[in-house]
């Protein structure tokens, strides 16, 4: 008997089966699914804000000092509707801060991690629901700190998302709020990550061995480890910067340092110390921002290729390899920073080596598609584009890993192209795919496929128009973080290209309306999904859609890995993880409990 059929009566099992009141059910909920959705909605709103900030950047770079249409007069009345150079620095600093700390990291770990981990491993919730709830609510003071920093005197942080001292020590209050906000995000992530690790280690369903975990869970698990080991170092560094700013310690400033003829500070430290500590976190952080997406994409690709994931174990090992190597390559952000050049040499070698596990992953994705039975659904298109785009972003990383080449392209748009390819074209596309894929589970309804495909098509086109051309800018040496690049003769002739990029960026943000409409309308109007609309194998698909409190209306018992599509053992083209093999056990070891 297939356990999928068990408990069909519970399909409409509501998330609020028990009397708890609106507040404790939807607001201060301890249910991992509600918390996951809370993260999802918050991050999508920040995504929109981050995207609008990006348009501000693009506007200025394409038409420096031109008056912004319509909203310019509202926002920058004092400057006659133009962006001031100072505001430009705020724009990219906050764009990056929002995108990285309030969108990508929380949407991966907070939204999908929360929603999927217990469901995919067969648990009824996280190990510590209260800590889980707190990890969401710790985001709010951070949202407020960062959101309000736009309105404090001097404006929001403006030293770049990397916040290099001593510049960041001369900044106004915005920087203090930035540091506080980041510390709070850090606390939230810490609580999340220790909880996820505990849950994954301890609360797997019977039969769910580590090597039967879906790649999503592996991605989340390794990400949690990365967070746990890397983030505290950033927190420590953040506190040092805070004391440098507020109590006058001198960790990041040399003796006798003074700016604007102020009295010499006591100092005794070194600006490079921040860079080391910052990148010791932030390099692993870039993998924090991609490993969960890689995991989710692996699941989606296998599902819609109707074929087992190619090389499951190598995939797992390469995630672990990326994580391990990720800790010893941070210096590649500092090749021209004044770092000891001998150190640069060692970081160069380790950086080259980190491309290796990524190569293994890429080839295994291709291997999965090869010989499959591809269903071109929206999530699949996004997942395939993740692979196509990650290759571009990864390969541009090789240029920068080559130290001599990095001398030229460091801090040019080549870098901007690189990280938007991995972050936006990679992770964000993966996230879109994941939203389309798990939406039916989250809301019990399907998203509109046609709208999804239109969304995909234009996003894909505009995204490449925006970011691929940035490589070319970088090859000319066009520097990043520049309010008016045409100040320099060398870059005069690049303006048409920049205008083209801006048009594409506007288009890209505009087509997200389709996504937003599709998302919101489908929540209420989409066709009912049923438990397993994609005929996928994962355990989450055997639970009701949306799953009720406690997730499962039967006791999951796992018999195989999550990728048995078209297995000769099964008559269907899928073979859920908890379906008993024919003959072996007529009944699951523990009968379903209601």
């Amino acid at each position: 008997m297939s356990s999928i059929t068990v408990g069909h009566a519970h399909d409409d099992h509501a998330a609020h089966a028990h009397a708890g009141g609106f507040l404790s059910t939807y607001v201060f909920s301890k249910d991992h699914k509600i918390i996951g959705l809370q993260f999802l909605f918050s991050t999508l709103i920040w995504f929109l804000i981050g995207g609008l900030l990006a348009l501000g950047i693009r506007w200025q770079v394409a038409w420096p000092w031109a008056e912004m249409p319509v909203i310019g007069k509202m926002l920058f009345a004092n400057e006659g509707g133009q962006i001031s150079p100072e505001f430009y620095t705020i724009l990219f600093t906050m764009h990056a801060t929002v995108m990285i700390f309030f969108v990508i990291i929380p949407i991966l770990a907070g939204a999908f991690g929360n929603y999927l981990i217990p469901l995919m491993i067969g648990a009824d919730d996280m190990a510590f629901p209260t800590i889980n709830m707190l990890s969401y609510w710790f985001m709010w003071p951070a949202f407020i700190a960062i959101g309000s920093s736009f309105f404090v005197e001097g404006g929001a942080a403006k030293s770049g998302w990397t916040s290099y001292p001593p510049l960041s020590l001369t900044d106004w209050n915005g920087q203090t709020l930035w540091l506080i906000g980041l510390t709070l995000v850090g606390v939230s992530s810490m609580m999340g990550s220790v909880n996820y690790m505990t849950t994954i280690i301890q609360m797997r369903a019977p039969g769910m061995t580590m090597f039967r975990l879906p790649m999503t869970i592996w991605g989340m698990f390794i990400t949690a480890i990365l967070q746990a080991f890397a983030l505290p170092v950033l927190t420590a560094a953040g506190f040092m910067q805070l004391t440098d700013r507020m109590f006058g310690t001198g960790f990041f400033i040399p003796e006798g340092w003074s700016v604007n003829n102020a009295a010499a500070a006591s100092g005794g430290g070194q600006p490079l110390l921040w860079q080391h500590l910052f990148w010791f976190y932030s390099h692993p952080a870039v993998y924090i921002m991609i490993l969960p997406a890689m995991g989710m994409v692996s699941d989606i690709i296998a599902c819609f290729s109707r074929k087992p994931l190619f090389g499951y174990k190598p995939m797992v090992y390469s995630i672990a390899g990326i994580a391990g190597l990720g800790f010893i390559v941070w210096g590649h952000h500092m090749f021209v920073s004044g770092m000891n050049p001998a150190l640069g040499m060692t970081f160069m070698v380790s950086t080259m080596m980190i491309a290796l596990p990524s190569a293994i992953k890429t080839f295994n994705w291709l291997g999965t598609v090869w010989g499959g039975h591809i269903q071109f659904t929206t999530p699949m298109l996004f997942a395939l584009s993740f692979v196509a785009m990650f290759i571009i972003g990864g390969l541009s990383g090789i240029f920068m890993a080559a130290t001599p080449v990095d001398i030229f392209i460091h801090d040019t748009y080549f870098i901007v192209a690189h990280f938007h390819y991995v972050l936006f074209a990679g992770t964000a596309m993966g996230v879109f795919g994941a939203i389309y894929f798990w939406f039916p589970k989250m809301f019990g309804r399907m998203m509109n496929e046609t709208a999804g495909k239109i969304h995909f098509f234009f996003t894909f086109l505009f995204l490449n128009g925006t970011f691929f051309t940035m490589h070319i800018l970088g090859v000319v040496g066009f520097p990043r973080r520049l309010a008016d690049p045409y100040h320099y003769q060398t870059f005069h002739h690049l303006q048409p290209l920049n205008e083209f990029i801006t048009y594409c960026a506007i288009g890209m943000v505009a087509v997200q309306v389709i996504f937003a409409a599709n998302f919101i309308l489908s929540m209420f109007l989409g066709p009912k999904a049923g438990r397993n609309p994609w005929h996928a194998n994962g355990l989450e698909w055997q639970a009701p859609s949306p799953p009720g409190h406690g997730n499962f209306d039967f006791q999951p018992v796992i018999y195989r890995g999550p990728y048995e599509y078209n297995s000769p053992e099964s008559s269907k083209d899928y073979y859920p993880q908890n379906e008993p093999p024919p003959g072996a056990h007529p009944e699951p070891p523990s009968p379903p409990i209601y």
Binding site: Y164, G338, I391, H487, Y488
Partner: protein, 270 residues
């Protein structure tokens, strides 16, 4: 639909390659290189461009081909497999070897541009008699480049120094040694046409060296965020012959002493 999507994905390598083919035609390419060593960096860039280009086209075309070929609508039989050991080994070893090769191949260029400091002189040891004195000291500050030449006696830090702002003149065809400093925050001394870039760090004096092969005037770009005026921290570097350089330096020195003298005469100097 599969065919359509496959073709959309085919656009990526096609347009990508086109982008890199046409960019040089429209001068959207590496700025001209007037340095002795810059060509090694350019060479490495091209080398990596070709290598990654091949990998890029190969993988993207493979993806396109699989999408086209294994479209579910065609209802072919699925190739049920969990992977292949030998394939895994192949695609681990080949990239590993390639990457290791690039890593080793570039070391020399890195050493030339950041490790083999000409200040050490022919014997390669700092602090000996044959040390090379710096040609100029560049101090970055918000938002300008302060330049200090050692003057006639070749010693920095005395009355003889010549001070200039933003207008860096240097002799062509000579090894130039710059002492790079910062007076306030981080900046970066970027000479796109010489493939030179080095951050200026407060409290540090970092050696930078290069040799220009052609006369001409080029941008000095500040490539590290240094505040609201980062975008306008522009300087010019002009390479002239040795004779012109000496003349110019003399003239600057005369101008400078003249202004100091007149200020002293007017009692302007504290």
């Amino acid at each position: 639909m599969g065919k359509f999507w496959a073709l959309v994905f085919l656009l990526v390598p096609v347009l990508g390659v086109a982008c890199f083919v046409f960019a040089p035609v429209y001068q959207h390419w590496l700025p001209i290189d007037v340095s002795q060593e810059g060509h090694t960096i350019d060479h490495l860039f091209y080398f990596i461009l070709w290598l990654t280009g091949v990998v890029f086209v190969g993988t993207e075309i493979a993806l396109f081909w699989f999408m086209l070929r294994y479209d579910g609508a065609a209802n072919r039989k699925v190739n049920y497999t969990h992977g292949s050991h030998s394939l895994e080994i192949i695609w681990t070893i080949i990239p590993a070897a390639t990457l290791l090769f690039i890593a080793i191949y570039q070391m020399n260029a890195w050493a030339d541009s950041k490790i083999r400091n000409p200040a050490a002189g022919p014997d390669g040891i700092l602090g000996t008699a044959d040390d090379m004195p710096p040609t100029v000291e560049v101090t970055a500050r918000q938002f300008e480049w302060r330049l200090r030449y050692p003057g006639k006696n070749g010693i920095l830090g005395d009355q003889d120094d010549v001070h200039v702002v933003n207008d860096l003149r240097l002799p062509v065809q000579e090894e130039i040694l710059v002492d790079l400093k910062s007076a306030d925050v981080l900046h970066s001394f970027f000479l796109p046409n010489l493939r030179v870039k080095q951050d200026a760090v407060p409290g540090m004096k970092i050696p930078v060296w290069f040799r220009a092969t052609e006369k001409g005037s080029f941008d000095i770009v500040c490539a590290e965020l240094c505040g609201w005026g980062h975008y306008k921290m522009k300087g010019r570097v002009t390479f002239v012959s040795r004779g012109e350089f000496d003349e110019w330096l003399d003239e600057k020195y005369r101008e400078q002493t003249a202004t100091v003298d007149s200020q002293v005469a007017q009692g302007d100097v504290e």
